[in-house]
Amino acid sequence: MRHALLLLAALLPPLLLASAAAQAQALPPVVPITGGVPSGGAGPMISADDTPPPEPTENLDIGISTEEIAITSDFRGADLTIFGAIDGFNPRLLAQGKYDIVVALEGPKENATVRRKERVFGIWINRHSITFESVPQSYSLSSTRPVEVIAPADQINNIGIGVDHMRLEPVGFLGDGSNVGAFRDAFRRLKEASGIYQRDPGGVQFISASLFRATVRLPANVPNGVHIVRAYLFRDGTFVSARALQLRVVKTGLEQAITQAAHQQPFFYGIFAVLLAVVTGWIASVVFRRD
């Protein structure tokens, strides 16, 4: 076991570097972030005045165990393992455990509408709604420690890591902006309650000095499409660098054929559904004939 790990540690960085570089080109740039201390604020690095902070030379390389997750008829969710390595790290800081890793798996983005019921004439009906622009349909977060502990809130909010910090921007004009907060909270609560948004604040583990392994969970109702694995490196509470990879979640076999037929040949699909019903009903009346 130990030999295998050592071998892995030796082989992985160059391997991952190549695949990550190839993938990174095809991807849109990771969230625009101005790395380093927030300007003007009394950041976590107060000592910055007398000794200049070391140049952020660290890089992150990641690789995933598979690039494609297939949804089969008995799909009940899956675990995705992400391996990664910190490149160009400062050994002293690494030894002190000053590096933190956050890995997020973001599902395909879509607008989401949150509706609120109110009592009208004794019955509960949907009254108010707010639509949030292009939010991930699913979200799994894995980190070395809870994100709130890793970095100051304004940085986390800026990058948008974690269920509580991702951007939820309402679409269109809002007459009364005061209740957006309640809708945001409801959105997060419902998504987490259904298991489609989840977090694992201990899901990233260092398996050697600079090599780490993250596990993110894909729930059974994971949406199809292109998901993005994002990994973030923090040094002593400061965001340093990020990497992103694509993960495709696809239906396979019969499930895929059915979905495709339903969307590309909807008329014939409907005819087929009816014929299936006709044949089933007819066979039943023949099998159980009693006259």
Binding site: I71, T72, S73, D74, F75, R76, E110, N111, A112, T113, V114, R115, R116, K117, E118, R119, G122, I123, W124, I125, N126, S129, Q137, F183, A186, F187, R189, L190, K191, A220, N221, P223, N224, K251, L254, E255, Q256, I258, T259, A262, H263, P266, F267, Y269, G270, I271, F272, A273, V274, L276, A277, V278, T280, G281, W282, I283, A284, S285, F288, D291
Partner: protein, 311 residues
């Protein structure tokens, strides 16, 4: 129970296949016992089981096709279908189903589809269940006192029979205006596409009490019309909304048609008024369950809808 999941490609979720088969069999049993399509039971059940209402309605209509076909074939062999009357009903039904699809899309857009489906169920099930229960209780009391049943007089006319555009329906031995027939078909068509019901539980009483159509052809003729309107609804829903889940429909159908056969056998052992009273109680129970849901404060007042097209 945990091991037997199946992924529904259109509803996009995994369900326990045993629960789906159980639902299909139970509804099939009741529909065989009472001679109804069962759409009014299967759609709410699917919604209780977290199937999105849009998928439940469209798939429910597909299940109704299967259960109505076996019933209609039996009636066709016995010659108890009035094809001409059924065709006139169907003309109204297809128009109604088209209008219903349009209403369905509109309600979905403004976010009130669930409410309208629930309200429509409460009102319809409450009314039909209440009327049926009252009627069957009267009949049961009468039977207990050994009084003879009052004879219904098919020749007796009401306002319906003074309408113009009359047509002769030979099989039913009736001379009737096509207007109320088309209107009835239209209303049932709207219900089929908005609620996923076949509408037999409304159509049969309306044909007997309102149109005075002889009882022997009523069930067969209503099944004849239900097949075509449901089939039409399935095709339109599939084309316009992509909401027919064929995997879900298939399991429901298989369990449904088998359950129906056992239901028929039990049904034959019970007397007509007992059956009607039981059906009335069942209809009322579903209606009350849905009404309670509307009135009590919900555990969660927020809900999330993803995307523009999916509901």
């Amino acid at each position: 129970m945990r091991g037997v999941t199946v992924y529904l490609p259109i509803a996009e979720l995994s369900v326990n296949i045993l629960i789906i088969l159980g639902m299909g069999a139970a509804v099939g049993f009741l529909s065989g016992m009472f001679g109804v399509g069962g759409g009014f039971l299967i759609t709410p059940l699917l919604i209780f089981y977290n199937i999105p209402p849009v998928v439940a309605v469209a798939t429910g209509a597909n299940q109704v096709v299967a259960s109505s076909i076996s019933g209609a074939i039996t009636h066709f062999r016995r010659g108890t279908i009035d094809i001409k009357l059924g065709t006139v009903l169907l003309c109204g039904g297809l128009a109604g189903a088209s209008a219903g699809i349009w209403i369905f899309a509109l309600l979905r857009r403004i976010g009130q589809l669930d409410l309208v489906i629930s309200l429509a169920y409460v009102i319809l099930l409450g009314t039909v269940g209440g009327l049926m229960l009252a009627e069957s209780l009267r009949a049961l009391r009468r039977a207990a006192r050994n009084e003879p049943m009052p004879l219904r007089r098919p020749g007796h006319h009401n306002w319906v029979h003074r309408l113009p555009l009359k047509m002769r329906f030979k099989k039913s031995k009736i001379y009737l205006s096509v207007l109320p027939v088309i209107a009835l078909g239209f209303c049932i068509g709207v219900l089929t596409s908005v609620m996923g019901v076949g509408g037999g539980f409304i159509m049969v009483p309306a044909m007997i009490y309102l149109l005075r159509i002889p009882t022997n052809v009523v069930v067969g003729t209503s099944l004849f019309q239900i097949i075509f309107v449901s089939a039409y609804t399935v095709i339109i829903q599939a084309t316009a909304n992509y909401t027919v889940d064929i995997v879900l429909a298939f399991f429901l159908m298989i369990a449904g048609v088998v359950g129906a056969q056992y239901g028929v056998r039990v049904g034959q052992k019970l007397r007509g008024e007992q059956l009607r009273a039981l059906l009335a109680l069942l209809v009322l129970a579903v209606g009350i369950r849905l009404a309670v849901e509307l009135v009590i404060p919900p555990a969660e007042i927020y809900s999330i809808v993803s995307g523009a097209a999916s509901y």
